[in-house]
Symmetry: none
Subunit: 204 residues, 4 copies
DNA sequence: CGCTAACCGAGACGGTACGTCCCGTCTTTAC
DNA sequence: GTAAAGACGGGACGTACCGTCTCGGTTAGCG
């Protein structure tokens, strides 16, 4: 947890320098994370890049871990809204976003750092696993909805399907040097959920 | 590349102290990696744990990266042989091993470290991706064999299926705190390849 | 020089808060100086002890050096008036006061700090040497008066005698852990000036 | 006390780098002390001036105080031997050396720093007072010898005379900007001990 | 079997980054 | 306008490791 968490809406005007410091430091942190990863992160580099004193970082966060956690939480805010349409369309939309997020986004380069840090840092782990869990649950809910409405075949294991869909994307991002291209998401969805025009005949 | 690469079989007797030093240092490295990850790795800790001088490590490897790479290559040797039986059985056997490898093995705890290091270290990346690729290709070959012999349905996309199978396991290991249990590998295989007794009716 | 020097008597009423701030800050400064010396002086400690904001100190003084200088000048005001009686009595009286000043006074504990600071700080040096010089000149004048009136022997070197008298006291204060006891001042004066009853026989 | 005190004669060859490091660091320390005093001393400045890593200083000393103490002890070694001749000649010789030491010597500029530090630092105090005491005792012994041999008048208070002699020199060094010139030492000695050719007529 | 060269542990070295403390400046809010 | 509170950029603190180096003390295996 950061020393001084983002304030609630009801509070008075704080010193605007605080806002500014937190912002420039987090921006520098994202850049550094993307460039050298969690392990290579240097507080002094962040301070230098942000043009602040090292003490200013420690004034707002308790250390590298705290800073990274809070910065990742900030990035998470950028997450897409679900969208509209059939379940199949919404699933495709979410996965397309995820694929491009893992392919292009500056923020995505912190994912490997996060995966690694989560193994050895309790609080990073909590953040990482909770965040993943939320994303996954949203997908499971969506798939369950499709099963209930009959759009998806009735014997679909929503949980396993969700893990296969996400699994392929993360496998390609983390274990290979060829991230899953967003153009092929349609193909992946068709494979896991069955193609739309033969939905009645499909088994997975 | 290590300063003194593992010798081929044809070489003369080296000083046995060298052999011993390399061994105890790599053992200590595995223990440290499992305990604190790649980022937390300290050469001095390894030296202390191995009971050797720091210089002895640098005498045999060029640094942390070189040492870790060579140590991981050593671990890789432990990889299972394919086994026998039907394609479905062999696939299940490999995945069961992989699941338990990712769940239990001391060595598995270096996987997250490897994932992270691969992003920022060219040579670790090369090692990591090549190793993954070999594993994946073996699986693809196996699935293709199944398609050709008619054991698996003809429209199976071997590559995508391989990525789904492995993807679920790695997703669970890297992105969640509940690694995929080896007991459920049969279920996973049935879902992706279709259950054996209805193989003719399955589409993936 | 302090930013806002102590006002002369003719000035308008200043904000009484200013007067109060200056006072409590200087009191805290004396306490800190006595406690940790010039080198260990911390502006933040003074502010905390005085119960004022750090900025308040900088509003009235330009920094540590300025604050200390102005504080020492304040202490100096406490200096004794010469007194009355024979020259020998007045000399004894002044030295007795000086001995007890160097032995007991809270303020005396800043003397070593002053000695040290004078070597490296031009303005502290000016203050320190001027103050010492005034004290010394008063003593020389007094001794010269004694020589002229015939109370002291005619070949007395007033300047050297003054330095011997003060020298012993300061030597004991600064160079040993046994300050010169005020009870023995009579003995010292007798040694340097000759004992009163044999004044005609004495040579120094 | 320094972490690794100067070794005894019987020991084996140590790493010669240790000797060298201690030397260049102490040389740099003397220079810095002379330049900025004890209060202004910066470990990083010493390290920079000596061309060593900061850690090397902490490898050999426990901190600023320890380093300064050990450095002053080193300087003390340079102290003159008593010399020969009559007591009066030897006293004059010692004081002449002390006067020039306090006037010229690079090392003398650490004296004010020492005086100040002794007030607030127990171990510096011990060193400072002990050193002063040894010097003073040597002078007292010398004067006592003169009294016993009849070279000096019998009613001389050796202790007080020693303090007057040293007192004048230190008073001039520490309390004024005009250190006592070594050429006038003869005059001072004559005043305190009586001039040689009228020794029988002298008091004090 | 003894010599010599390689290998070893130990740890000093010049560095870099850590997280903490204080400096002197600057900004805000309360009175 | 003055004050308390405290954020800010800067820089030194003392610690922990880095990767390099030097040192004697083994130990191997060739002569």
């Amino acid at each position: 947890m950061s020393v001084r968490p983002t304030r609630g809406e009801g509070e008075q005007n704080p010193d605007p320098r605080i806002e500014r410091s937190r912002r420039v430091i987090q921006e520098a942190t994202v850049d550094e994370l993307a460039g050298v990863g969690y392990g290579g992160l240097r507080i002094e580099s962040i301070a230098r890049r942000a043009g602040v004193g090292k003490a200013t970082i420690y004034r707002h966060w308790n250390g590298k871990q705290d800073l990274v956690e809070s910065t990742l939480a900030m990035i998470k805010e950028d997450m897409v809204a679900p969208g509209e349409g059939t379940v199949r369309e919404r699933v495709t939309s979410i996965l397309t976003w995820l694929a491009s997020y893992l392919t292009d986004s500056r923020a995505s380069s912190v994912m490997p750092a996060l995966v690694s840090a989560a193994q050895f840092d309790k609080s990073v782990a909590q953040f990482h696993f909770r965040f993943t869990s939320e994303r996954r649950q949203a997908m499971i809910d969506l798939l369950s909805e499709g099963v209930q409405t009959g759009e998806l075949r009735s014997d679909l294991d929503a949980e396993l399907a969700a893990e296969m869909l996400a699994g392929v994307l993360f496998y390609r991002r983390l274990m290979t040097d060829r991230p899953f291209p967003s153009e092929e998401v349609g193909n992946l969805v068709a494979t896991v959920l069955g193609s739309a025009d033969r939905a009645d005949a499909l088994t997975i």
